[in-house]
């Protein structure tokens, strides 16, 4: 299994992602430079968090036009697995691989804290090691994570089980207080129709070892690395 982590100018969770996937035995992890057009025959592409291109214009809007993203889009359109975390999610939205857009957090503040996620669908390559309703603790760190899409898109996502994670309180209940950014329906992560591209704002790669406060992120890393799926 080969994992390719794309490094944009301004990525800052690329090394965390590298470390997280390195925890899984038998997995080869490589960095992929944004200016390259070689995906290095990766099985899974990771678009990591950070502030690619300084978040200029809109988060993810410039990264979308980088050389490697053309290959990533082709890879995804061919059924390849792509996970976008935080800024990576924003890039997936800007590049049209996932529907919707990110707005500034409703409280206008950069939110950097631990959140609780509820797994809404485990019938995906990204969440197969988790169970539906399972609560995962991991951090968020973003200023623009307020997920928005028009009502038609939202209802399609909801009805087809494509909302993968939701922000909830420690009891697993959706509340306004547990929603760190004002996302519609407390959406924290979504998947595309084909089931091979997922984006999420929280950071599983920063929650893969207990010494960091939580190892719940391993559920996602392990799901991706299970070759049987």
């Amino acid at each position: 299994m080969k994992i390719g982590i794309v490094v944009f100018p301004g990525s800052n969770c690329d090394y965390d992602a590298y470390q997280a996937f390195k925890l899984i035995e038998g997995v080869e992890v490589n960095y992929l430079w944004h200016g390259s057009d070689n995906l290095n025959s990766s099985d899974i592409i990771v678009l990591p968090g950070g502030f690619s291109y300084g978040d200029y214009l809109r988060s993810g809007s410039i990264a979308r036009f980088s050389r490697i993203m053309k290959k990533v889009v082709d890879f995804a359109n061919g059924g390849g697995y792509v996970i976008g975390i935080c800024n990576g999610f924003q890039i997936l939205l800007e590049s049209g691989l996932l529907p919707g857009a990110m707005m500034k957090n409703s409280n206008l503040r950069f939110v950097c804290r631990e959140v609780v996620l509820r797994v809404e669908n485990n019938n995906t390559r990204f969440t197969s090691a988790a169970s539906v309703g399972q609560l995962l603790r991991m951090p968020v760190a973003h200023g623009e994570g307020n997920y928005y899409a028009d009502p038609g898109v939202i209802s399609e996502l909801e009805l087809s089980g494509r909302v993968i994670f939701r922000y909830v309180n420690p009891d697993g209940v959706v509340t306004a207080q547990a929603n760190p950014n004002g996302s519609i329906n407390s959406i924290a992560g979504i998947i595309n129709e084909r089931g091979n591209v997922m984006g999420m704002m929280p950071h599983p790669e920063r929650a893969c070892e207990l010494i960091l406060g939580s190892a719940d992120g391993l559920n996602i890393v392990k799901s991706l690395c299970e070759t049987t799926t």
Binding site: G100, S106, Y148
Partner: protein, 82 residues
């Protein structure tokens, strides 16, 4: 010929504008009771070499649609001058 295109990007009707709401509240606090609503946006100035203002507008519009505005949440208006 050189043209100056001004592209004004603003949020679409119905999309919540948290910055606009916050600024609106501050204006109310300052006594601007007649200001009912504030919307925020961005302005881009593009210097464009084109054979006509129609063509300059086309180029600006293309740039706005492809990069400067996100059609999911934003709309844009263009003003072209010489």
């Amino acid at each position: 010929m050189k043209f100056l295109a001004k592209i004004i990007v603003s949020l679409k009707e119905g999309v919540l504008d948290p910055q606009g709401v916050t600024i609106g509240r501050a204006l109310t606090d300052l006594g601007f009771d007649s200001v009912a609503r504030v919307g925020t946006g961005k302005i881009f100035s593009l210097e464009i070499d084109a054979e006509s203002d129609v063509r300059a507008r086309e180029i600006a519009s293309d740039a706005a649609a492809k990069l400067l505005a996100n059609p999911v949440i934003e709309r844009f208006d263009i003003e072209v001058a010489r």
